[in-house]
Subunit: 253 residues, 2 copies
DNA sequence: GTTGACTCTGACGTTACGTCATACCTTATC
DNA sequence: GATAAGGTATGACGTAACGTCAGAGTCAAC
């Protein structure tokens, strides 16, 4: 087991970075001793390597967390993607080197370069495309799950009336939860409503097991589109929901 | 002449970025029309390419500005350095690709990787060394100037008494300037003291021509070490000085 | 004149830490 | 046991380089 300094030195990151990663739940220590010292083991070190790979691919920390926390996360598949992106990055650097040489020629020759030609090699779109592709694959993986299939089967024959009823019930639950935002997420009333919310999903879409519910909660805060939408109810509602759902799932065992 | 959208599209940056660069004096438009529209020409486009190269080398914007604004800036030399750094970056990517392959092997073989081995390829120190080397060269270029030589000649025979006198006079000027920080930097009294400050340098170190004085002012705010030191007089003093000196030099013509 | 795209300035927000303060912990040495 | 140096924790403010958005003016085509 390593302490923070050892891991930080080994990995070439700062202690502050490790604190930060712990704080956001990206990389929690394997253990914490009686004095509060973080202790990291092999699994944590391996995860940190994964994180550094994803960072090298310009993924944001919330997105990295989402990917790594996905039960369907496939390390081999991820590494394959890293490989591809690294090759594209390398190709870009080669284009930049070429551009430097060209620019040197024009400087030495006292000529001018076409304005448009100057910037082509800096182009990142191919690399960004690949990132988006990977993200899309991760998101589309949801489409392969039993939950999704069940949801599809259930909702296939819903009438407009059904949808209206479902929307209204959902809105009611959210409205009541928002009213209780001043309370602690572990509050009994809050937890009861979270239970209702979960039941609502199970009744109308798919069986909302603990792990799925928890993953949904993480998505609420990790995916800016969800956060933005949910926070329309009230500022910070997504964060409140996440905490409440996590507490609820903790108690499920 | 191009407007912001054209340049932004051409260069793959945002309009906001161009605004920002103008604001910090990194890339000013060649012209501004009657309606306040920024207009960029060939020289500005070429400078933007330089900026993007330096950004690719992970230089900060203030540092880029300092380098590009240096009268001794040598484009050819800079490009040579870029070339070297790009090669080192490429080599690093190759090491990362190798690491991915190794990691794939261990994952497939169900074995573990040595903890320390995981992070070596992420190492940036060689690249950072080269950046520091370039920065050091830029700073040491000051040592080649006539101003520096003159300063050396002048100060060579200074006694402790001389140094004490010079320090006291310098402190007096600064003390008075700090008192006037509430005024506009173009204020007459402020400008008189700026004149004194310049005279002090000319009398005791080297002939402080307009361009040199202006360059000095830029260094006060672009080099964090200067800023930190100067702002010990009062918070924001470096920025105040810069503005006052620029105004003074503007009036010199 | 209208519309849609473009321009400006100003200002707040974001991400991933860096920096620093304060207090506790550990280890080696005297 | 005391001390010193190095290590650990939490908390909080600050940073760089924009991104986002608001409100208002401009331009070109219909």
């Amino acid at each position: 087991m390593y302490k923070v300094k050892e891991v930080a030195t080994m990995a070439g990151v700062s202690v502050r970075t490790l604190h930060h990663y712990d704080h956001i739940g990206l990389l929690s220590p394997g253990n914490v001793n009686e004095k509060g010292y973080r202790l990291y083991g092999e699994r944590e070190v391996a995860r940190l390597q994964q994180i550094l790979f994803f960072k090298e691919m310009d993924f944001s920390l919330p997105k990295i967390k989402q990917i790594l926390d996905d039960p369907e996360f496939d390390e081999e598949e991820a590494l394959q993607h890293h490989r591809e992106i690294l090759w594209k990055k390398k190709a870009r650097l080669e284009r930049l080197i070429q551009s430097v040489d060209q620019t040197l020629e024009t400087v030495r020759g006292g000529t001018l370069m076409e304005d448009e030609k100057r910037f082509k090699p800096f182009d990142m779109s191919e690399i960004e495309e690949h990132q988006k592709k990977y993200e899309k694959e991760v998101e589309e993986r949801w489409g392969d799950t039993e939950a999704y299939k069940e949801s599809k089967r259930k909702t296939n024959n819903y009438t407009d009336e059904d949808w209206k009823r479902i929307q209204e019930e959902s809105n009611r639950i959210d409205r009541e939860l928002v009213k209780l935002m001043g309370r602690d997420p572990s509050d009994e009333e809050v937890q009861r409503l979270i239970g209702e919310k979960r039941q609502h999903i199970t009744d109308n879409f798919y069986e909302c097991k603990g792990e799925i519910f928890r993953g949904l909660a993480d998505m609420y805060v990790n995916d800016p589109r969800f956060t933005k939408n949910i926070d329309k109810w009230n500022e910070g509602y997504a964060e409140f929901l996440k905490k409440a759902i996590h507490t609820y799932c903790d108690r499920l065992g």
